[in-house]
Symmetry: C2
Amino acid sequence: MEIIRIPRIMKETSKRLLVKGRTIGFVPTMGALHEGHIFLVKTARSDNDVVVASIFVNPTQFGPNEDFGIYPRDIEGDMQKLEAAGADILFLPDAPSIYPEGFKTFVEVSGISERLCGAYRPGHFRGVATVVSKLINLTLPTRAYFGQKDYQQAQIIRTMVRDLNMGIDCVICSTIREGDGLAMSSRNRYLSPAERKAATSIYRTLKAAEGMVRDGLPLISIKENMQSALRAEPLITEIQYAGIYDPESLEEKTETGRAGLLAIAVMLGSTRLIDNILVEL
Amino acid sequence: MEIIRIPRIMKETSKRLLVKGRTIGFVPTMGALHEGHIFLVKTARSDNDVVVASIFVNPTQFGPNEDFGIYPRDIEGDMQKLEAAGADILFLPDAPSIYPEGFKTFVEVSGISERLCGAYRPGHFRGVATVVSKLINLTLPTRAYFGQKDYQQAQIIRTMVRDLNMGIDCVICSTIREGDGLAMSSRNRYLSPAERKAATSIYRTLKAAEGMVRDGLPLISIKENMQSALRAEPLITEIQYAGIYDPESLEEKTETGRAGLLAIAVMLGSTRLIDNILVEL
């Protein structure tokens, strides 16, 4: 696996590959890789001639009171995992090369960035859209891979790619889960053993809601059930949202009709966890 | 000259040219072409294998009370001029293909977009940056060409291209002027004969200020001279700005040091005109 740290060299390398007619699969990450990331890399491996993964803990997508400083970093472990999963190139830039002095351009996807996680993390998706547009312009992928666990992020990036005519395919891969259903996340490392156990209530609540959807319960009752199931878990210190949303607009759904996104964001102490599943309504 | 109206076909055409190793020079315009535009096309012609010009009157860069509806359109005349200047491809999209329903992504260059023209045209440069990023992603240029008359626009696009790693060269070409010094502009067509005559005071004021810079007058006196020269012209109904600015930050300059931008924006009745020159301080 080749390691490229300089944005200009990353871009030149990708250009050279494109001129040779190679397809490039790109997996952007913030490192601290888990099996969810590795599934993205393996999917990219099977779809493309060349696989580029990036590791960049992006400062502009963290709020001032968030976990940028303590976000888990494990470059050695990550490199071994990427190599084993078949990545050809690791793009590993430092912050000053991505945001040099005088940086002042931002990409914003209005409307859907303000809902759900956006309401609790102001500026977060502006940071995400900006860095992903930069990473796409540097790695020039044919396809880019994102996990469904970060559904809103994937939806925002898909919209940006379409609106700005970036001309790449966004591939959304299934959420990978622990044996007990907890969605894989780099932030699971923050959990105490008791919190880790309590965190299983998130997916359990989603699956129970899915059952209620199948049984034809009214959406308002399903939402109330989700909220009270989460409230019953004493280690959940805040329910940021839990309900049924439109998978396109991310607005709360009050009537059935086609697809729905069951989504949850909670705080377990100082750890923020999210999860979602798509259902037919 | 080939005419392409569909964004997808424009992008496929550009991709095919790039894979063949061709360089692409791109000249984005809003049509109603004058000799300033033609100079951009001829410069692109001499620098590149393929020259793409676009004509698109971009709705998102006009304010609600601005001249979007009456902006001059002359597609037949424009096509003849582009062909004669050596353009290979005219990209001529319609508004719904550039802004389809559900469009919601915007590119914003903070800091420099709010100054000078931006203070009088809120949202204008957000519309410019957004459409130019789209046009760049569709035409995939090696180099893009802009006129110095729209100095702030060129500066914003240069910043966006650098910040988002678009990897193209922005070439800023000299302002082309009428015999009496008035900067060429599609909006000059709006002027009555009396206003047309009065408009010459803009460049005259810039040249007089340039002389004062050479003579070493204090910047504050030069600015006062510019303002009073423009006030002396009764058909100028508003001076939006007239002074000396930093060519990078566009902040007003109060002390000498390296380069300065002498810049003016005025209203002549309902017509807004701008002009500028760069000077050594």
